[in-house]
């Protein structure tokens, strides 16, 4: 098997000088695929993703993007390398309009952004309708769309989503997942952390079940859903 496009290889580390939260945890995603990290609360799912994005102090392990070692780059530099991150909370500029939010996503770009803007509006038609409203006036689900749209504006090669469906209704969640699949089809790799394990694994090419900062199970989403042990422990039967 060829090397995955993005890999966080045997990562160990924690925040600042605190204790290690991750213990030799490996997360990877192939080009144009969806990788999902699931697991119980406090398992270090978000932490693992932040480690891949450089928001954590690593003691061991390395992060490689397209074969290049980026372990020592700051999150900002990783953005320039083609990684986009959508945090779980306060992931929009609430006092800016929807369109300004998207423009800020493309801040590093010097070329014409109107094409990408049109693509984002095509993906999330509701945003085009509300492009002159401030993001703070939108509903939770619409705000998540703004957040994902902002990240897409950087034309990333990897899109990282921290619980994109937290706090949105099941209908909106299904729609967001559909959009995420669409994004992956355009060749962008997606790495996301999800609470709604079952739905997330259904769309995942690759699934990671994490427990206490370690990889517990790693397989295709389908296989994990079928695995009786995973079902019993994490998916509620």
């Amino acid at each position: 098997m060829s090397d995955p496009f993005l890999i966080g290889d045997s990562l160990s580390g924690g925040y600042g000088r605190g204790v290690d939260i991750l213990h030799s945890c490996t997360i990877s995603v192939n080009e144009g695929e969806i990788a999902v990290i699931v697991g119980p609360n406090g398992a270090g799912k978000s932490t693992a993703m932040k480690a891949v994005f450089g928001m954590l102090d690593l003691h061991e392990g390395s992060v490689k993007l397209g074969g290049e070692d980026i372990s020592h780059l700051s999150p900002q530099d990783r953005v320039a390398k083609g990684m986009a991150f959508v945090p779980q909370n306060s992931n929009t500029f609430t006092s800016l309009t929807v369109e300004e939010n998207l423009e800020m996503g493309a801040f590093l770009r010097r070329d014409d952004i109107s094409g990408t803007l049109a693509q984002v509006y095509e993906l999330f038609p509701v945003l085009k309708e509300k492009r002159r409203q401030t993001a703070g006036e939108l509903s939770g689900g619409q705000r998540q769309q703004v957040a994902v749209g902002r990240a897409l504006m950087t034309q990333p090669r990897v899109l990282m989503l921290d619980e994109p469906t937290a706090g949105v209704s099941p209908v909106v969640m299904d729609e967001l997942f559909d959009r995420i699949i669409e994004v992956a089809r355009t060749g962008i790799s997606i790495l996301m952390v999800e609470q709604n394990a079952r739905q997330a694994l259904e769309i995942a090419d690759r699934g990671y079940v994490m427990v206490q900062g370690q990889n517990a199970f790693t397989d295709t989403g389908e296989a994990l859903l079928a695995d009786p042990e995973v079902r019993r422990s994490f998916l509620g039967g």
């Binding site: 320039a80 991150f85 306060s90 992931n91 609430t94 300004e100 800020m104 590093l108 902002r150 950087t154």
Partner: protein
Amino acid sequence: MDLLNAIVAFANFVMLPAVAYGSQLALGALGVTMIYGILRFSNFAHGDTMAFGAMATILGTWWLQAMGVSLGPLPTALLALPAGIAATAVLVLLTDRLVYRFYREQKSAPVILVIVSMGVMFVTNGLVRFVIGVDEQRFADGARFIITAREFKELTGLKEGLAIKSTAMLTVVVAIIVVALLFWFLNRTRTGKSMRAFSDNEDLALLSGISPERVVMFTWIIVAALATIAGVLYGLDKSFKPFNYFQLLLPIFASAIVGGLGNPIGAIAGGFVIAFSEVTITYAFKKVAGYLIPAWEPQGLVQLLSTDYKFAVSFALLIVVLLFRPTGLFRGKAL
């Protein structure tokens, strides 16, 4: 006729001075609010930054006057203004590099930065007095009035005169232009939008690749321009005295807080609220009252508060707003 006289007297002694003073406060408060919104601390050195900007402009004006340059009816200070802004920008950028950046890198609490800014205030304060002295300086030239009280009386046949000082008019016109430019910059340009984004959500701004040092630099340059313009307009309209600028700090902060810290529209509104309150409350209404109620002959001046206490007005308003609406009239950030 008496009603007209009352209106003219009110306009002459309350409206016009308050509009001019309000414009000056609004420009000052805009600077304070921008520092608060983007650098996240209350900049106590702002009054003295204004004094420095005004001083630099005055030195330039004197030089131009000595060279025989003049703008005709407009004050020569307008010509020296760009140089004053440039000098002030150099000062604040240098201060940022030498002082504030250190604390920014330490991620110091805002309260520490406030104390640091007080230190900067004292140094700037001393610098200005060292260069230009503590005395009052006059640098206004050009036409003093657009219309004098006597001309107005002859023109309208009213008993009361309405004098429009050219500096007051200039203040309002310049303030409108500056505010329009500032809002255009913040809402229409890439850099301006990135400054708003940075003020809104610093972490997300970093994730979008917005460079904090660039945002901070632009903020200081804009603040230097706002402070210098406000300082020069105040100096032209009243007179330049370093101590006055130190005292302006209270009404300026009151304006920014009353309007809502971090909110530019709030800063402007706050400036006018404070200015109108101050002027109205300290104005002796005897004359106006005399026209409106001829039968009433008041014993005193019908003045709510002596002008000596004008700062008490901003202070009282500040406290009332902080007690009942801490985010200000336009929902800025809570203190």
